[in-house]
């Protein structure tokens, strides 16, 4: 039994409520003398405009139209004028002149300023916005051959930064952030789909991109604080499509299909050349060459095998089909849509890839002042991915192309290939025969809305939504035969040994989560005396999550995964009682906004969140924000400007947001568990206690953001420019606790970090309609953010494979850190007079070896000479979208890029013959130092283990590994043709369009051998390892499709 909520838990909300009440009471309801005027408001298509405001000019009196578009208003004098307005339409001013019946035709106002913008728990027009909100129209997403929404959003909005770890369709890891890095924890924004906050940003990828009507991005505190404790990283509001009233059923079908081509950016040198280079590297450091001239000749005569990394990849089909039916009657609207998306993996092997099935239905109906709606979405995702390690690509990439290298013979026996040196490995065996992970996940979401208009302008709205997520994975690991390496050309198939997962395990894992969200909202919206626009919102929300998983793992199964007497159940098997959780969030929130004469705006928002993730006495947080706006162009002294240019609005906001993503469900309390094999008695294992110390002082991370912005329009609103500058300080960032050793335990987290993040963004929208035959539009965005660690404690240096990053106060979070190089030694004389690393014997260096900068000038290169080397997070990110239409032809393209970013790449793509398991050089490495090539990009060749290699390549985090990561990429280019209507009507078809498109066809970058778009960093600039540049390659898509409307 739940206790009803019977009081406001804190003062600010009570104030909001009071304010709302006062506003209601001040509404003048007295009737006056005069005539009664009535009529119908319709739009250009003759359909009634519902909820249009009909006001008596110069007064606060007025009404709104009903569902038939009708209105009736009394006490009208002959001299009065009626002002009829509605969002999305140009306001009409109609003199009464004694008429009793006045029908009004509203023309759609497509100007930028009147576009509908979805904000937290409500909608408004762009004109009214005084905070920082970017909008992405659903059109940008439709017809793009992308696998998911996140991919489509890349470059779509300023400072919406989406990075990918790789392009593997079955294992892609994208990270998304708004305005860059502002916490050392998770920087992922909150995603809200149709008013329902989502547990993680990846959920947007479960949507069918064609179902999306719009995406609005709340960037500053003014717009996002209404989402309180989860809003500090910004909020992405996704709204799905609905039907339209009084519309005959419209059936839309679209199909697109194409080929994904893996674009491998590096190429091994020919094998004979590789042998020569290898010999050169050895003799450069006084070691004996390994390849004889006969061998080199043999390589040259017999030619090349296909590099394994290319053998592992193939072109893959991608296809997408959508069918939707929309329409509506006078009181009811509906939408039914279904889609199928299929993306095959580019890996060879047993049909890896993704399938996604979406189904959505949305219905609304009205009954007097009551409106009821339901929106149900279903997603099924099937994924099959190979069981290959994270180093698969690196392993496959490091082999030379000796003519005798091969993967597998006709009997299915795999070959290890390590002629002369390197680590053996049947590289493609796991991919082709090692087994797979197979997911089949189903997600069902449902939302029920009830709207009731209590009095004019005051609506009560209840939203009930739920989600059920069922995820299932089946993992099957297999064995295969690998020939025994015997040092000659071929490994020996007659002595093939069983390899792979010799215990032949398989496991099932099932996870189920349910989510429930209920919201009650009071929404008030009125204009008084024409000039005083007031809107207010008061809401209550409760969210609950439940989760559990079960898993069973068995080993020693046969090849049909059936058990036998040898089969055992693995310890990793678990019951739902071992893996489950519950969490809840209860919130009150509100917004009051007031504008005077559409010139001066003030808006206050606040949210009060109570979360089950914190100790009860401190589980609540209050997150307020204020926004101010001034439409300067409407001032009388700006008349000239308004006429010449257009609109000009200045705005500012300040507020407090929270972040609780990094807080575990029970981090505030000490929890106990048991681990096996803690100790033994008589040689037999016993289990031991484990405890995780909680921190009951845990609270939200808090961000305070100042945002100053400017919106201006030019050329009759054809060109709209928006500029924002922000400064954000995040405090109470969760970091590992600092406790004394004598405390005797570690505490996982405490609120102690502080970070600053500042930046700006510029957006240009241009839309020119010359006539119905020709129009073109573009949008351009450019943005920057810079972060700085303000409070952290002892600097944390984190080296992965020689690439070093540092968290240090005063530097950006996880900056590249290490030694600065100063080119290459040109003479022995220079070596003698230069500082060298302490682990290097200078007498064994030679010209062409790396020279380092002795930063502290103490005569040696040691740890004290390390310094800031650059930053791996994109700066000056931009996107450019261009669309052109002429008669039936349409053409569009999209550019996206980064103007400043450092990319530190390690491994054999940089260092030739890396660690001796890199056994080939690549064509891009040939510009190495030699006496006849002293201005080379890379140092002279040297063999692993030599002093030169230690000097040149083994100084952790030296800038020899740093590449300029700036780039510009043509993400998408599309050409379409819409057939003339006269022609298509013959086929009962309203519209028919065909198109051809291409993804990622062109990239402009300084170093072509790595994809500049991929990153090793997660959303908080943390990383699992250093970037080796050898990822699942960039995919280029070539395809086409058609859109039909019936």
């Amino acid at each position: 039994m739940k206790k009803p909520i019977n009081h406001f838990p804190n003062r600010p909300l009570a104030l909001l409520a009071c304010l709302l009440t006062v506003l209601l009471w001040t509404f003048p309801a007295s009737a006056q003398d005069g005539i009664t005027v009535s009529g119908t408001v319709t739009d250009a298509a003759g359909e009634p405009v519902i909820g249009a405001s009909v006001m008596v000019g110069g007064t606060t009196r007025g009404t709104v139209t009903d569902i038939d578009g009708r209105y009736s208003i009394s006490g009208i004098k002959d001299t009065d004028v009626l002002e009829v307005s509605s969002i999305g339409f140009a306001t009409q001013i109609v003199p009464v002149r004694g008429r009793k019946s006045i029908d009004v035709l509203l023309e759609e106002d497509t100007t930028f300023l009147d576009e509908v913008v979805v904000v937290g728990y409500s909608t408004t027009s762009r004109k009214h916005i005084v905070s920082s909100i970017a909008s992405v129209n659903g059109e940008v997403l439709a017809d793009r051959p992308v696998a998911n929404v996140q991919q489509a959003l890349q470059g779509a909005a300023a400072n919406l930064i989406i990075q990918t770890g790789n392009f593997d369709p079955t294992n892609s890891s994208m990270n998304i952030s708004i305005r860059g890095v502002s916490t050392m924890g998770n920087n992922t924004p909150l995603v809200v789909i149709d008013g329902v906050p989502q547990a993680d940003a990846g959920r947007m990828n479960e949507l069918n991109p064609s179902d999306i009507e719009s995406i609005n991005i709340l960037k500053d505190a003014g717009s996002s604080a209404i989402y309180g404790a989860r809003s500090s990283n910004g909020v992405i509001l996704i709204t799905t499509k609905t039907g339209k009233r009084e519309k005959a059923p419209e059936v839309r079908f679209s199909a697109q299909a194409g080929v994904q081509n893996p674009h491998i950016l590096f190429q091994p040198v020919p094998s004979y050349m590789n042998a020569i280079l290898r010999n050169e590297a050895l003799s450069n450091v006084g070691m004996d060459p390994v390849f004889t001239t006969q061998e080199i000749e043999d390589f040259q005569i017999n030619g090349e095998s296909v590099p394994f990394v290319r053998q592992a990849m193939k072109n893959a089909l991608q296809q997408n089909y959508n069918l939707s039916i929309t329409g509506g009657t006078a009181h009811t609207t509906y939408l039914i849509s279904g889609s199928f998306f299929n993306q095959n993996s580019n890996y060879i092997g047993p049909k890896y890839g993704n399938n996604r099935y979406n189904f959505r239905t949305a219905v609304t109906t009205e009954w007097g002042r009551l409106k009821v709606g339901a929106n149900v979405g279903y997603t099924r995702q099937d994924t099959k991915s190979p069981l290959i390690g994270g180093l698969f690509f690196a392993d496959a990439a490091r082999f030379p192309t000796y003519w005798f290298y091969r993967t597998m013979d006709e009997n299915g026996i795999f070959y290890a290939n390590n002629y002369k040196y390197g680590s053996p490995g049947a590289v493609l065996a796991d991919l082709m025969a090692g087994g797979s992970n197979q997911y089949d996940n189903e997600y069902l979401t449902g939302t029920l809305n009830v709207d009731f208009e209590i009095i004019q302008g005051l609506k009560l709205r209840a939203v009930l939504s739920g989600e059920s997520r069922n995820e299932h994975r089946f993992t099957d690991k297999n064995t295969y035969l690998v020939g025994t390496d015997n040092g000659s050309y071929w490994s020996d198939p007659s002595k093939a040994v069983l390899s792979g997962n010799v215990t032949t395990p398989a496991d099932d894992w099932t996870g189920r989560s349910t989510y429930f969200n209920s919201q009650v909202l009071l929404d008030f919206n009125r204009t008084f005396a024409r000039r005083h626009e007031v809107s207010a919102l008061l809401g209550w929300s409760q969210e609950s999550n439940k989760y559990y998983s079960t898993g069973i793992a068995k080993s020693y199964l046969n090849d049909l995964n059936q058990p036998s007497s040898a089969t055992i159940i693995e310890e990793s098997s678990h019951l739902s009682s071992e893996d489950n959780s519950k969490s809840a969030l209860r919130s009150f929130f509100g917004r009051v906004s007031y504008s005077f004469d559409e010139k001066y705006y003030i808006e206050l928002t606040a949210r009060y969140d109570m979360s089950s993730k914190f100790l009860k006495i401190r589980n609540a947080g209050f997150f307020p924000a204020v926004s101010l706006g001034w439409r300067a162009s409407d001032e009388s002294f700006m008349k000239g400007y308004k006429a010449a240019c257009g609109d000009l609005k200045l705005r500012a906001s300040y507020g407090l947001n929270g972040n609780q993503q990094d807080v575990g469900l029970y981090d505030f309390m000490t929890t106990y568990g048991v681990w096996s094999n803690a100790y033994g008695f008589n040689g037999k294992p016993v289990s031991g206690l484990m405890f995780t110390m909680g921190n009951e002082l845990l609270t939200w991370e808090k961000a305070r953001t100042v945002n100053v912005g400017l919106d201006a329009s030019f050329f009759k609103s054809s060109l709209n420019i928006s500029f924002d500058w922000f400064y954000k300080r995040t405090s109470d960032i969760l970091l590992p606790s600092i406790v004394t050793g004598m405390y005797g335990a570690s505490i996982a987290k405490e609120n102690r970090g502080v970070m600053d993040n500042t930046g700006w963004e510029l957006t240009l929208d241009y839309n020119l309609v010359h006539d119905t035959d020709f129009n073109h539009r573009f949008s351009f965005n450019l943005a920057d953010s810079r972060n700085k660690v303000v409070k952290y404690g002892t600097p944390a240096i984190n080296a992965n494979d020689g690439v070093t990053v540092i968290i240090m106060e005063g530097l950006p979070l996880n900056s590249y850190y290490g030694y600065k190089t100063a080119g290459y030694f040109s003479s022995y004389e220079e070596i003698l007079h230069s500082a060298v690393p302490t682990n290097v014997d200078a007498t064994r260096l030679a010209p062409g070896d790396v020279k380092y900068v002795d930063i502290n000038e103490d005569g040696v290169i040691d740890e004290k000479d390390r310094t800031y080397l650059g930053y791996g997070f994109p700066r000056y990110t931009f996107g450019f979208n261009y669309t052109f239409k002429w008669k039936g032809i349409d053409f569009s393209f999209m550019l996206q890029g980064v103007l400043k970013r450092m990319n530190c790449i390690r491994g054999e793509l940089i260092e030739p013959f890396h660690e001796d398991y890199g056994t080939t050089m690549y064509t891009h490495q040939l510009d190495y130092w030699a006496p006849d090539n002293v201005n080379a990009r890379w140092p002279r060749l040297s063999a692993y283990g030599s002093v030169s290699t230690t000097n040149n390549w083994k100084q952790p985090g030296s800038d020899i590994y740093m590449l300029d990561g700036a780039y510009m990429r043509l993400k998408n280019i599309q050409v379409g043709y819409t057939f003339p209507k006269e022609w298509t009507r013959k086929f009962y078809c309203q519209s028919l369009r065909i198109f051809f498109d291409c993804q990622n066809p062109l990239t402009f970058t300084k170093y072509g051998f790595v994809d500049p778009e991929t990153t090793e960093f997660g959303s908080n600039m943390s990383r699992g390892g250093a970037n080796s540049g050898r990822n699942y390659p960039t995919l280029r898509y070539f395809g086409g499709g058609l859109n039909v409307v019936f």
Binding site: K2, P4, L370, V450, F452, L460, R461, A462, L464, F516, S518, Q519, V520, Q542, S544, N545, K546, S577, E578, N580, S581, K582, S583, A584, M610, S612, K616, N619, Y666, M669, T670, T671, Y672, G673, V674, S676, N677, A678, Y679, G680, F681, N682, G683, K684, P685, V686, S687, G688, L689, M690, F691, I738, V739, T740, G741, M742, Y743, G744, A745, I747
Partner: protein
């Protein structure tokens, strides 16, 4: 109508299903953990896990002249050679490890009332926790002197202002606690087989003897030793017949008083808790990686010929039997029986067999003609012995698996140690040993080591040196040497405790395998300070912590 709508609108308020106060249901909380007897057991076993480790059992030897560590035992090497600062993590890991154990023990002791177990069980468990707490405080005061002292879990705020309590006061607490445990724990003879390795009343008494000994308190040590030697009130202890077997299969015999325990799971045939000799053994019997543990020539020289004479450096024949158990030398051979995972042993992966270890490079060169895989010889590289010797003590092929991982128990206190503590305390207290006292203590050890009868008898002079030599040989590589050297240095220079000065200043050498016939001079020039410093990180946070002399 309105009412219905209103009801509909408010429906969500009642539809929520998860409250704002949540507790984990997939793990335990303070409230639930102690309700289960298994969990109480687990709390005890964690205390055992953290009480003492194979790691420290071995690593402490680095702080003596018995072994040479490689650069991969950097922290200990810095301590042993006087290069360490208070930031050296050897100090903080010792400190943190002790206080972690104290937190575990206090987590249990603070919750005694909550435990749903029988009073009898609770009493025994409490005695074990308090014994382990005493052992841990003994570690702390031995290395650090005065230390912050808690008898229940502190908050972090308390630790930020905690001050050091005098070692003398803590020592008397330790002795009281051990007496409490001695009164309540079962005797070794009363332990069922399944409980082998649990601490007994004999453990408590032996630890008391050690506590007195470490303080050079002879009377106290004699008193405690006599509770074990002359009486069966605290268990029945005796020397094992065969020294070699003692370090293979004899760890649960009557000589064992306190052990560190490991585990093997039958069924999956897997060592689930083990320790490794991968960086101690000769490579010919499966060691790999960087060699971190090479016995010194000085240790080798302390093992005499069976007639009592000092052997030549490379004269490895006819020595004290204990030598062959302890050290792998040039030409020694190791029998690998058919053992678990035996096939991973040996360079050929053939397992079962007899392997000879050639550490002299010149000889290895010759032997390699017939077996090219031989690779135990000293060559100056980090994966070979640094001294010409490897470690064999505690290597039991029958309990050793892949990676030289073993689940064999390691004896931290054994009866031979009690006999030697007793002999030394009697001698130091009285200035002599009687024939009877000698015959009851040192003589049986020498007899077991296979010495001629003459050498087993009480010597006419040099009894102190005889006892000390016996401690070195008998307890070699068992972690006692660093503490003995400290004690003896303090006896000679009582001001050491006040000055914290260096007490071990010498050089280590290896076997005479150099081309010119000289010994391999290892890089260790020992210079070990008497105290460990209070870790710098600790003092950075707590201004009340004073630093030890010498730092």
């Amino acid at each position: 109508m309105k009412k219905i709508v209103f009801f509909l609108a408010l429906l969500p308020a009642f539809a929520s299903c998860v409250g704002l106060e949540q507790y984990p249901t997939n793990s335990y909380t303070d409230e639930t953990y102690w309700n289960y007897e298994d969990n109480v057991d687990a709390a005890l076993y964690l205390a055992y896990n953290q009480c003492w480790s194979a790691d420290l059992y071995w690593v402490n030897n680095h702080l003596s002249d018995d072994v040479y560590g490689s650069r991969h035992s950097k922290d200990n090497l810095e301590v042993a050679t006087g290069q360490a600062s208070a930031q050296n993590s050897r100090f903080s890991s010792e400190w943190n490890g002790c206080y972690q154990e104290l937190r575990t023990i206090h987590t249990a002791l603070d919750n005694l009332d909550r435990m749903k177990v029988s009073n009898q069980k609770k009493e025994r468990y409490e005695a074990e926790w308090r014994l382990m707490r005493a052992f841990t405080y003994l570690r702390l005061i031995t290395w650090f002197g005065d230390v912050p002292f808690f008898t229940s879990n502190p908050t972090n705020a308390q630790t930020l202002v905690a001050t050091r309590k005098s070692a003398a006061e803590i020592r008397s607490f330790i002795l009281d606690e051990l007496e409490f445990a001695a009164d309540r724990l079962p005797k070794n003879t009363a332990l069922p087989a399944a409980e082998r390795g649990r601490y007994t009343c004999g453990t408590a008494v032996a630890l008391k003897a050690r506590t007195y000994l470490l303080n050079n308190d002879w009377a106290g040590c004699i008193r405690e030793c006599e509770r074990l030697i002359g009486s069966k009130d605290y268990g029945t202890y005796a020397l094992a017949a065969d020294y070699d077997e003692l370090f293979k299969t004899g760890h649960y015999g009557p000589e064992s008083i306190m052990t560190v325990e490991f585990a093997y799971e039958v069924g999956v045939e897997k060592i689930v808790r083990g320790w490794s000799m991968a960086r101690m053994l000769p490579q010919s019997i499966g060691a790999n990686g960087v060699m971190e543990f090479s016995p010194t020539q000085e240790l080798v020289n302390s093992f005499r010929k069976t007639n009592g004479s000092v052997a030549g450096d490379t004269d490895y024949t006819g020595r004290d039997k204990r030598f062959y158990t302890t050290i792998a030398y040039n030409g020694c051979s190791v029998e690998i029986p058919d053992a678990i995972n035996a096939k991973v042993i040996g360079t050929q992966g053939v397992g079962k067999g007899r392997y000879t270890c050639w550490t002299d490079p010149k000889q290895a060169e010759v032997e390699r003609q017939s077996d090219p895989a031989l690779m135990d010889d000293y060559n100056g590289s980090q994966d070979r012995t640094a001294t010409g010797y490897y470690t064999l003590k505690n290597f039991d092929p029958l309990t050793t698996g892949p990676g030289r991982n073993s689940y064999k128990s390691l004896m931290e206190i054994r009866y031979a140690d009690v006999l030697l503590m007793y002999a030394e305390s009697l001698y130091e207290q009285n200035g002599f040993l009687t024939e009877d006292q000698w015959n009851a203590t040192v003589k049986p050890l020498r007899q077991r080591a296979g010495f001629d009868a003459d050498y087993c008898a009480l010597p006419a002079s040099g009894v102190r040196e005889a006892i000390r030599l016996e401690r070195r040989c008998e307890l070699a590589l068992e972690g006692r040497r660093p503490f003995d050297l400290r004690r003896w240095a303090l006896m000679e220079t009582p001001s050491l405790a006040e000055t914290g000065d260096y007490y071990l200043v010498s050089t280590a050498t290896g076997a005479p395998f150099m081309d010119d016939g000289t010994n391999i001079v290892c890089a260790n020039s020992y210079a070990i300070k008497y105290w460990f410093p209070i870790p710098q990180s600790e003092r950075d946070q707590n201004n009340n912590l004073t630093q030890n002399p010498g730092w």
